[in-house]
Symmetry: C2
Subunit: 340 residues, 2 copies
């Protein structure tokens, strides 16, 4: 039986005091304000933010649409953060090679399935006569790489090591697995592990399918895909894909340029006509892109993140009358921002 | 502590035998095929489907976009099923009056916030000088109507009455509430209740915010909204809105006509310019719409639904190598189809 429900929480009200104005002498301390999650993030100290290296970014520029190049985020650009070790590095290495070879340039977004995924790559990839040749030296990655075989204690992430004094404990969520799964955040990413049992460490941890996560399209097992065919989640978290497909990153900016594309009317949301596809102008690693802003994410090991996550789970700002008491991990997106 | 993880399951393999070809005499029974969820739904017997009355439908036709009137579902039409008693009937009654008065005609979709909601109504609703007058006789509904104060046993829905022999038991999900929440399906809808405790009935049950659910925009509490301002969920289930806002229905067809709209660039995803809004041509109750197809949903009390839900939680079709062992309730959308 999985353990669920809230676990120990930090004294959030006390922690909140740190970011509120100090009352004047002689006044009673004010009741802590009910900050909205976005306000907690905005007030997080600079030291709680972690820089994302430019070469850990994948920058995809799409062809202009009928509205021209400028949409929600100011361009038809999608910025993806690649996943760090120990996760999915075989596929991430392939993606770096494909980007360095400018392999995706001139290809297209081929599939948009509502409440599921947007997928891009070579529309002719299944046709051997027409398929674009892949670069030499791509790794064939085995299925067991869907999971990082590492001690969850060596990762020392929140839900996975609640007995450690340095750990910020969080509620666990469950997707109802009788074998027991825990979810939590580590190094800025939403992760799952075998359920934590005091005194027993899990030895497998894996990233999970939340909104905006980017994965590697594949055909039937034991094929795991090269990384040339990528997708991102644009609907409710399809957690049934966890451990069945490789996750390699997440969209940190410009997902609206994918999620607002017309849905495909073919099977699985593939476009039926070539002219419906959105062209890819270029895909580059961030260090190849002139003028790219610097990005940073809110450390998931920070007190600010713990307060943010608590506020996502227990909305106490003015609109709300009843805090939920908990939140699905995918409803706690990790804050990412441009460095000012 | 909430109880979570799988509960009792029907012998699904045996049940599956009913929809598979009967083996010839003398042959060993075939191993049950691993049907995909969509195949289980397609094979469900006619008697497992429940007709939706036309006057329980709200039909919204949107102005053509740059692609013309024909998009994914074959038109720029959005079909919404209104919620049945005992849920939200004060607001549903208002919506019936607004539709009968053709109140929404000529108004617009005013807000599209990525991974959250699309909202429509009177863009000038907050401006008393310009706001369109509401019909007379709309009810002012109190906040306690967010929850149906009824015995969960009188609803006799699956997770809420697992001790009853007629009930199909399902796993429960939890959003981590220490007070204990159960979720499950009843009368075709995703619901939550206080956690089921054997011998003790819950007396409050409420609908939950899954993808495509439709709710009533409101301002700060104790305002609960009239129903004139509506939204639908286009992202990961925002469960923190449960019991904080009224749910009145769900989109059963054409949600792509809302979810693929350009995102608004103003605060909360509101459009900044009037010309960005998508016009509403008309909103009608289904019985006022000539030529409307008949719709039906798969009974959530049927064996076919239980098999479908189990298959959503445990994908065993060819693509999958590792069944998840459970699913979030919002990842088990209730199947709805046009009657052939």
């Amino acid at each position: 039986m999985a353990v669920c429900g809230p676990m120990k929480h930090l004294p959030f009200a006390a922690a909140l005091g740190l970011v509120l104005a100090t009352p004047s002498l002689g006044e009673a301390p004010p009741k802590p304000a009910a900050l909205a999650p976005s306000e907690i993030v905005a007030a997080a100290p600079k030291g709680d933010w972690v820089a994302i290296a430019p070469d850990d970014l994948l920058v995809m520029d799409l062809a202009p649409d009928y509205r021209g190049p400028s949409t929600g985020s100011g361009s038809r650009r999608v910025v993806i953060q690649l996943m760090p070790p120990p996760f999915s590095q075989g596929w991430v290495g392939n993606i770096r090679k494909l980007a360095a070879a400018h392999w995706w340039d001139g290809l297209s977004v081929n599939r948009v399935q509502d409440n599921y995924v947007v997928q891009w790559g070579d529309a002719d990839g299944e046709d051997k006569a027409k398929a674009r040749k892949l670069p030499d030296g791509l790794a064939v990655v085995p299925e067991n790489e869907y999971v990082a075989h590492t001690s969850s204690r060596s990762l020392c992430y929140q839900a996975f090591c609640p007995d450690l004094p340095s750990a910020i404990t969080m509620w666990r969520t469950t997707i109802g697995d009788s074998t027991g799964l825990s979810t939590g955040f580590g190094a800025g990413w939403p992760l799952a592990a075998e359920d934590y049992i005091p005194g027993k460490e899990s030895d497998s941890v894996w990233p999970i399918h939340c909104y905006g996560m980017v994965g590697v399209g594949r055909n039937l097992t034991p094929d795991t895909g090269s990384g040339a065919e990528l997708y991102t989640v644009i609907g409710h978290a399809p957690r049934h894909l966890d451990r069945n497909i490789a996750l390699v990153g997440r969209v940190i900016e410009g997902i609206e340029n994918l999620s607002s594309l017309p849905r495909g009317t073919g099977a699985l949301g593939f476009y039926e006509k070539a002219e419906e596809r959105t062209g890819i102008v270029s895909v580059r690693l961030g260090n190849e892109v002139a003028g790219l802003p610097a990005y940073e994410y809110l450390s998931t090991e920070s007190q600010a993140f713990a307060r943010y996550a608590d506020a996502r789970a227990n909305r106490r700002d003015a609109f709300f009358i009843r805090p939920a008491g908990g939140a699905d991990i995918c409803n706690i997106p990790v804050p990412v921002r441009r460095v000012k």
